[in-house]
Symmetry: C2
């Protein structure tokens, strides 16, 4: 489409502009920047030709709404995305400052480049292009962008509930994801769910000289015992009932996962992974997509500076997240985790458990849903190849919520690739993907208009 | 002794002066402050009447030497102490700034108050008092103060070896310790030894989004497994051969430890300890004095800030120290630890082991040594009670070194008490102890002159 090509320099500048806003939702000191990103997105929607554009206040970071409803009687698509980003630390591992985007050899490096400020612009640009060239869209489009995805979308449920009519739709399109590579296109069935907890152990009122060892007890010993009790020698999670509601994989699904899997050597090469480990009954790709996990995301206690400090600390801490798969429920898994922690904390330590935000239901779209089939056709036309069917490893809380509150299924179209360092230093996005994604959204709107 | 009483206000001011110097030996940025403390101590020795006072350069922080050899033909005592202190962090837990000593209700609060700037002044003041009032000391006295005790005395061995003649003595008196309380006097037989290691585990080249869980492996899981493998369910250390050379306790020694033990309730009250745990064959007091330990002093990895960061880190770390008892050797235990770590690191992680400074031999003085008996007599006279015989929980590397290099045994006389928060925030010293300790050293010099 000539319009996209002709305006690509401007679209890139817009992307860099948006990437310069450090909209880190987890950092209270940057709440103003998250709001600035919301206002930037609202302005961009207006410029694209959307109407009724406004911020939806949530009590936390605001969401952004916009619509084009010029196709009465035709289906309505709700486009979802988020404009907040992960923290950038550790800063010293970035080649360029994370909020000063650098374009190097066809890639833009910045926090949020692949997750997901690039993706966010794709459907906006697609709508602008269609409105500018054809004067109309092939169906009705609504936009909902949130600013709290990276902290687990704590206010998204209330926003959906309070705006059921405003957000009513036939299907949702999430731009928060990938479509593989042009050589190896992929469609997603849905993301895993999430539960997040923080564990605090205390063994005394104050730190003690480690000469007291044997008399004074050590909360780090209690913590490593507790955490290690959550996993058996082969990596299975030992929390009672953890796997109870996991939908067993059919042979067909296992074949699908195997077909979509990249060679492990490829993962090893791009990440430097030293090995693989986990439930031996499943392949690493099955473990990462169709099996639940329990990960310690952070641990700390005692003296962590340079040199020796002969101390027995009085407290130790860990952060845990679980990725969930259908039909696990976050609330039920949380209860089981809490029961395990209480039962396995050594008697000499006092435990407190903090629920962290971010609970999300797992979600899978039925593979034969018309919108999913439309998506497959778009990717096939765009790349000349049949896309593999794959499951998201990560979590996008909105899908389970939208299914529950609005009753709509969700398809996913974005251009992130697995080697683009989402959540890590030197995150980047391929500019070729950015352009291809705009084209894909133009095609998808037409396909959905025919299919729904 | 009238001289001590008359000059007590000055002695206190001197103590506050010394406490104001932040001589944190573990912090390279404070090397100048450690040297300033050395010069302060040298000046104080000269003022007390010592001769040949000088700094002994070590390649690290300097040591300080001084002597009074005016009693030819009489025995020679070498007094040991250190003028460096532990780091003060976490700073926010201090009621007063750690290097602005505050005198409150008969206590001086500051980093180094009890460990051991107060103790360091006691023998200097005692010598000054004897020289000022009697014109002479009852025997020859040499002083050796180091500035690296809190980092494990890495240069003390070379200093002793290069100065064998200068430091030759009949017995050493370490001022780095306590003598219980006036109601419950104690003498020490000697400290435990030490080995210190740091463990680094790596599983990939970079941090990954925790959505990769199941595919990406987690170094924190490997670390908690490794650390937990070092201890059985009842708290015994499971490192092969760890207890091989531990001298078995005799029934008489166990009775001695039981007699010297404070009620556990007292320890619980002063520290807020939530419980006790460890080798069930031994009492907590036996475990802390006559049994070796393995403590994790620090652990860190992944995201430790507020909120959630869904990351699988690529590295995780821990610091470990072992306290050793006769006849364990630091080198041998270090080898056994390394073997255990290498054998128990999961195959999916890469391990590197860093030797931290501070290795020290355990030490016990024969209880019937004439100097030890002299010490018992001093405490008995000073307090009107028979002192209990006890073992130090902590580590004072100099004793094992002095025994090996100079062939001398060591007795310990200081005034630290176990509730004075050595190495912790709000460290303090009782000013009554400070005065009583000066008197004790005056008496000890006379007793040693008679006994040796």
């Amino acid at each position: 489409m000539g319009y996209l090509e002709a305006n690509q320099p401007r679209f890139r500048e817009e992307l860099l502009d948006l990437l310069r806003i450090p909209s880190v939702s987890t950092d209270p000191e940057r709440a103003g920047e998250v709001r600035r990103a919301a206002e930037w997105v609202a302005a961009r929607l207006r410029r694209a030709g959307m109407t009724d554009v406004r911020l939806l206040e949530t009590g936390g970071h605001p969401a952004v709404y916009g619509e084009w409803l010029g196709a009465p009687g035709r289906p309505t698509v709700l486009v979802y995305g988020h404009f907040d980003v992960q923290p950038a630390d550790p800063l010293h591992l970035w080649t360029h400052p994370p909020f000063e985007p650098a374009v190097v050899e066809g890639r833009v490096y910045a926090r949020g480049a692949t997750d997901m400020k690039g993706n966010l612009l794709l459907p906006i640009i697609a709508c602008e292009a269609l409105l500018q060239t054809e004067g109309r869209l092939p169906l009705n489009v609504k936009f909902l962008f949130e600013g709290e995805e990276e902290i687990g979308s704590p206010h998204l449920g209330p926003v959906l509930e309070q705006n059921r009519d405003l957000l009513a739709c036939d299907v949702m399109v999430s731009a928060d994801g990938g479509m593989g590579t042009p050589e190896r296109p992929e469609v997603w069935l849905g993301p895993r769910g999430l539960v997040a907890l923080q564990i605090h152990l205390r063994t005394a009122d104050r730190d003690l000289h480690s000469g007291n060892g044997g008399l004074a007890v050590n909360p780090i010993h209690a913590l490593v015992r507790l955490l290690d009790s959550m996993r058996d020698a082969e990596g299975r999670v030992t929390v009672a009932g953890f796997y109870d509601r996991v939908r067993p994989l059919t042979p067909a699904e296992r074949a699908e996962i195997a077909a979509a899997a990249l060679p492990l050597e490829e993962f090893r090469r791009t990440t430097g992974a030293r090995g693989f480990f986990g439930e031996p009954e499943y392949t690493p790709w099955e473990r990462a997509s169709a099996r639940p996990t329990l990960e310690v995301n952070g641990i700390w206690g005692g003296f962590t500076g340079p040199g020796v400090k002969t101390v027995i600390p009085c407290e130790a801490h860990a952060k845990i997240t679980c990725r969930l798969v259908p039909d696990q429920s976050p609330a039920e898994i949380r209860e089981k985790l809490v029961a395990h922690i209480l039962a396995h904390t050594p008697a000499y330590a006092e435990v407190s458990i903090e629920h962290l935000p971010g609970e999300a239901d797992p979600y899978l779209i039925p593979p034969d849903h018309p919108a999913q089939r439309a998506l497959v056709r778009v990717l096939t036309r765009l790349t000349g190849r049949e896309p593999r069917v794959t499951r998201g490893f990560g979590t996008v809380p909105v899908m389970g919520l939208v299914k529950r509150v609005l009753g709509a299924e969700t398809i996913t179209l974005g251009v992130g690739q697995s080697d683009e360092r989402a959540h890590a230093p030197d995150e980047f996005l391929r500019l070729a993907s950015f352009e291809r994604g705009q084209q894909a959204f133009v095609m998808l709107l037409a396909e959905l208009a025919r299919a729904l």
